[in-house]
């Protein structure tokens, strides 16, 4: 019997198809070669130096909207999409966020709720990375409770006029098109707002301490006039944006497992070579306990992600399954990152090592796409049948 591979302890690899492995290996190879060497600098500078170049690279691989079909999308299964998210987030959560927002939020909204003209216009360039999209749901006063949004769209003849502010919008200031959700007399509706539409502007949010290798913005809509053709015709009500969020969250279930894996790998490396009291620190019982805890978290996250992925591919993933995965895996990743940070000593607080970068990133990952509390409430409602949100 061979000793288990420390990097795939439960031999989950064997449950992947050859195609899934090929996609995983390609993303791993690409992100380690093309992105990892820059990511600490981007984090340091609080931006992605050349976001259009990064988008083009992702587009050439086929990552954007990879699990959607037609319109230039690759059309892979959900597990392959998850594996890609895991490899990207093993490099940095900001890169996975880029892909989640483009593919799972903006493109899914258009794919699922858009008109044929909207799909034809936007999906092929977005899949290719030639156009960037963002998704504006959250507002300064409306986060976990998006139904309380204040952005309004009112009819004016055959047009719509939008007013309000969206906050914390990933890629907002570089987007060619924003999917903006607004309240109307008939309920919540989605609109495609192209860059440069009069009255529409975006401001970069500075001084973040987390997800720094990602651009986050405020969107300002000041009497923005749009034709009815800019409305997503099939989106009626809050369920539409929430269903897109469920797609993106699915990617986070895998992504968090990637960040955790990266922290464990860095720590195995570091503790194996760092000598104190005359021996590698990996040789101390207290360290081994931490490594064992990390190993369990990393591998359980992977199993959770794969099981939810298989359910999704079978058309059997309930939104509460995704809540389970998001809650479990982000929490596990936060535990792993914190232990990894500690085991790196002073080196662990620098950008020379990836661990504190991951630890800081995971604070955003824990907050967006539904906080732990929101997912706990979702699971509670599923278990008891009693909603306890308000």
């Amino acid at each position: 019997m061979n000793t288990p591979d420390p990097h795939d302890f439960l031999a989950v690899d064997r449950d992947l198809s050859e195609e899934e492995r090929a996609i995983r290996d390609t993303v791993r190879d690409y992100s380690r070669t093309e992105l990892l060497p820059h990511v600490a600098d981007w984090f340091d500078e609080g931006t992605i130096a050349d976001p259009r170049g990064v988008a083009k690279g992702f587009g050439a691989l086929g990552v954007f909207g990879m699990h959607l079909s037609g319109y230039g999308c690759a059309g892979t299964n959900a597990v392959s999409y998850g594996l890609a998210c895991r490899e990207l987030e093993a490099v940095d959560s900001g890169l996975r966020s880029f892909v989640s927002v483009q593919g799972s939020l903006a493109m899914t909204a258009i794919h699922r709720y858009g008109s044929e003209e909207q799909r034809q216009e936007w999906l092929p360039p977005m899949a290719g990375g030639d156009a960037i999209g963002c998704f504006g749901l959250t507002e300064p006063d409306s986060g976990s409770d998006p139904g309380s949004m204040r952005t309004r769209a009112r009819r004016d003849g055959s047009d719509w006029v939008l007013s309000g502010t969206k906050m914390w919008i990933t890629n907002g200031s570089i987007a060619d098109v924003a999917i903006v959700w607004a309240a109307t007399d008939e309920g919540i509706r989605g609109f495609l707002v192209p860059r440069g539409t009069p009255g529409f502007s975006a401001n970069v949010i500075h001084k973040k301490l987390s997800l720094r290798a990602s651009i986050t913005s405020e969107l300002v809509l000041d009497e923005v006039r749009l034709p009815d053709a800019a409305r997503l015709p099939a989106a009626d009500g809050l369920r539409a944006p929430l269903s897109c969020l469920s797609e993106a969250r699915y990617g986070i279930v895998w992504g968090a497992a990637g960040a955790a894996r990266a922290c464990l790998e860095a720590t195995l490396d570091y503790t194996g070579s760092r000598v104190q009291f005359g021996r590698p620190i990996s040789g101390f019982q207290l360290t081994q306990r931490k490594l064992a805890d990390m190993l369990v978290d990393v591998n359980q996250s992977m199993l959770t992600a794969l099981q939810i992925g298989r359910l999704k591919d079978a058309g059997q993933a309930h939104h509460s399954h995704i809540s389970f995965g998001k809650m479990a895996n982000v929490r596990a990743a936060q535990r792993v990152a914190a232990l990894a940070r500690g085991l790196h000593g002073a080196n662990g607080v620098t950008l020379e090592y990836p661990v504190m970068r991951h630890m800081a990133n995971l604070e955003s990952v824990a907050t967006y796409e539904g906080t732990e509390e929101v997912h706990a409430l979702t699971l509670g409602q599923t278990l008891t049948g009693v909603p306890a949100f308000r």
Binding site: E19, A22, T26, A60, G62, M66, G75, T76
Partner: protein
Amino acid sequence: MNIVVCVKQVPDTATERKLRSDDKTLDRDAADGVINELDEYAVEEALKLKEAHGGEAAVTVLTMGPAKATETIRKALAMGADKAVHLTDDALHGSDALSTSYAMAQALGRIGFDLVVLGSESTDARTGVLAAMLAERLGVAQLTQAKKVEVSGTSIAVERVTEYGYDKVEATLPAVVSVVEKINEPRYPSFKGIMAAKKKPVETLSVADAGIAADQVGLAGAWSEVAEFAAAPPRGAGTIVKGDGDGGTKTADFLVTKKFI
């Protein structure tokens, strides 16, 4: 134009590579098989030549290797090659360079080609002789160590890397070319490419299918034999030069004794 790219599966250079104690051949099960690095450049060059010909060319991958080499074949197909021929047979196990070139030449004769593209060296056996041997066996021009390839009509011109720069070499097709790393930047396979690769034709050839005489290949047919092998000796402690204002001179003297300067 028919372009055939020879692609070898080699053990991952990032893992420990071993020889088998029984027949002294490479232990291909001990390490993950990956595409020989230079062969990615060879595939890229073939694809570029195809694109330069407005797509009017077929790119065929030829791999000689065990069953698990299909993973490597898929990678080349995912990058964009059109189809593949997998020469695989237990009788081929243990072939040396001469018999490998014989077997591959037979397969190439069956496939038909205007241009054969190889890497200039593999990372496992590293003999670097295959391109020359193939050209000789096939009776066509050999253009090795290419850092640039241009084909127009039936003529081919390459820039061949030398110690002093490069030679410009020209020939008439059919020809065999081997490429060096400088030649291009291999593309990453796209997801669409990976998914399409499953559906591309891979023809499997046995020794008999390719008209290869079984006694001319494999361990039995090899002209050379690995008589013995040993692990590389551990590195010595090295020499520490202690300087007392004369460190530079002492270091230079040491380098002179080693003929570095």
